[in-house]
Symmetry: C2
Subunit: 478 residues, 2 copies
Amino acid sequence: MAKDKQVNQITDMEVDFAQWFTDVCTKAELVDYSGVKGLFILRPYGYAIWENIMNYLDRRFKELGHTNVSMPLLIPESLLQKEKDHVEGFAPECAWVTHGGEEELSEKLCIRPTSETLFCDHWSHIVHSWRDLPCLYNQWCSVLRWEKTTRPFLRGREFLWQEGHTLHATAEEAIKETEQMLEVYADCLENFMAMPVVRGRKTDKEKFAGAEATYTVECMMHDKKALQSGTSHYFGDGFAKAFEIAYMDKDNQLKAPHETSWGFSTRVIGGLIMTHGDNSGLVLPPRVAPIQVVVIPIASHKPGVLEKAEEITNRLKAAGIRVKCDVSDNSPGWKFAEYEMKGVPLRIELGPKDIEKGVCVAVSRADRSKTEVSLDGLEAAVPGLLDDIHNALYEKAAKNLRENTFDAKTLDEAKGIIEEKGGFIRAMWCGDLECEMKMKDAAGVSSRCIPYDQEKLSDTCAVCGKPADKMVIWGVAY
Amino acid sequence: MAKDKQVNQITDMEVDFAQWFTDVCTKAELVDYSGVKGLFILRPYGYAIWENIMNYLDRRFKELGHTNVSMPLLIPESLLQKEKDHVEGFAPECAWVTHGGEEELSEKLCIRPTSETLFCDHWSHIVHSWRDLPCLYNQWCSVLRWEKTTRPFLRGREFLWQEGHTLHATAEEAIKETEQMLEVYADCLENFMAMPVVRGRKTDKEKFAGAEATYTVECMMHDKKALQSGTSHYFGDGFAKAFEIAYMDKDNQLKAPHETSWGFSTRVIGGLIMTHGDNSGLVLPPRVAPIQVVVIPIASHKPGVLEKAEEITNRLKAAGIRVKCDVSDNSPGWKFAEYEMKGVPLRIELGPKDIEKGVCVAVSRADRSKTEVSLDGLEAAVPGLLDDIHNALYEKAAKNLRENTFDAKTLDEAKGIIEEKGGFIRAMWCGDLECEMKMKDAAGVSSRCIPYDQEKLSDTCAVCGKPADKMVIWGVAY
């Protein structure tokens, strides 16, 4: 069969993890390449995953009082330059529009790499009084960053994301917002996408351009490398001052408000693939899966099989399950391979003998375990089976994270661990940039975060031996 | 009060309709201007209207089997040039990216003005067999067209829209899709936005660049001008051939598939404003309104008033109504003006005397009519009141369309009508471009469409007197 050949074309992840990843992206029909390097097409199945993530987060954002807005695609060069650190971080990777229609523009415009400057410019028009605060805004859009090397989901010159931007009367309120939104991301990753996270704060070297503090959720991929999966930034009043945003407080004093931003992108779909996938293709946790259950009739030419398969499909649909029945003339074996490639969490096989017995066979994509389920109790049983798959995938990923996180007391020890085993390193750090750079140069790892969960491994910096009170997680990052 | 002053700053529509429109856009807090001409910020209230339209259409599209995808933002110049008519139509208004990061690009890239070329390029990769058809795709995004004159909603250099793109095995199927999607737009405008439409086909002069046929829904605004509110295009197999898309049919013949596209944009929010608005501001039909009901407590310092107002707000919320209770310390008069400006369809006033009587007063934004409603029966009554407002707004707009559509037998007659009264002209047309141009030059009207509802007004063209079998609707268009 043509399809079996296709499946066989997937590279084993143990042979070449990067090639395996690319194979899954294309064979599971998540993406296609466009004519411009680094700009990817999200095909229906890939976009449906993003739609599920959008729906989950959008509901959470709105419950917390945020509203959506739409900011322009283009930023004038002069506006981008208003905050010094910010422009230094982003200008080198901007795409520039220089001509509109048949005319050369008097000022070049960059396609937004992120929209802090646009939100601040807008706020400078509309925020005047304490009554105008807080502004709790979000937008769903795409941004462009002209990267040199690109890969589907993980590093696109264009990628889809949401960017939340908020403005508050006080620093306390803004910091609370920054932390709260990181927690929303952690919840989405853990409880919706079955991806365990390490929550923490970035070092000054790794924080967002222009931020006072950046918080992050870091995930470990199957190859033990780190994926920064969502970040939340506290800006203090730096941007507000640069953009002359001021509000009259209740005490009749003119004050500068405090700002945050936070973003979550299609990058996490790359994370989903590299966390749960296997050599048969994609493995999707049930809550984020576009198709949660696929019903496959066996010996479908036998009387009553197709009808029964469609009947249980309709019953599951009525129970709120995202279910598909494949009644095509492809063989069951072809279909098994197809939906394994696409990572559908639960496959239901139904043949004449099953129908006679009043059962069907449910097969988990996570571990291929089979469960015989009574047809009468199907709607009641499937949600539990899906929850089991979510939990199994989460536990497997958590085990990977647990078993591949190692403590190191010295730079040499860290280097040895990375060379021998890979994974995350926990090591004490004095806070000096120089030591952070040495870790990178000697062991090839960057600081992923200063995790919320601190443990005093020793009193001294693993690099320089001076007093240290921060435990940092280090790793090789995507 | 500051707010009363703000309200007073709205220009009367009879004095200056264009200025009235701009005033409503800004005072109702729908938009703000950005630093780039023609790129507008959709503020929370403006974007919430678009979100409601998106949700309505997205559900309809999916019910009809369409799936969402995401195409790249940028089109290489060489790709845009593949279809001759298409590039001629769009190249003059493209914005061009010439630099990425610190490098000049070897080929300039345009920001998508529309995505036919991107979809066709993608389809040329993935469509091989009749099994791959139909492709029923849609995307929600923004596009750029470098217009010379710009206005919020009506003519932006950037605007938000959805663009559906479909590929079919046969011409019949593609034409059916084109017509079906026009009907979806007509339904959304009439039944969701209370905007009556004229359905029809564009003349060759007015059709989309590269299309064989363009269908349109045209609406009449309060100033009797036309707004093209949604279009659906049939491309035949022209694009497929230009992009070398071919599929192997069941009969083992290689064939070119047939294509459609259809789009609906934030322009219709301009249409909503100009159809229903009045000199107190925006008027929103209830089904598309972000806030359907505003509850305003009267004499809210009196015991029990605030509590009762919040109680009925929660009851309406639980009944699925989008409701807001304004408990701020602004005066009732201030609040009345505020929510009239924002076009909230139904205002509920509740004071101590009402509570004593067990009633509240519901005031329609459409005609300010008041209804006393029993508090006990509030959830049951409000949906009916909202439907009444929808129907009243639709009927008012339909009357405007009916009473301002005139028949003309000659060019002079058409010219006289436009000069004296404005509105739509119905006139017979022979089909010649020359006559169409003469209508424009002499009477200042363009052909809006050849409506589905044809009537034989005479046997001869109103311009040249030659035989004519098409009745065309002409008007001044936004």
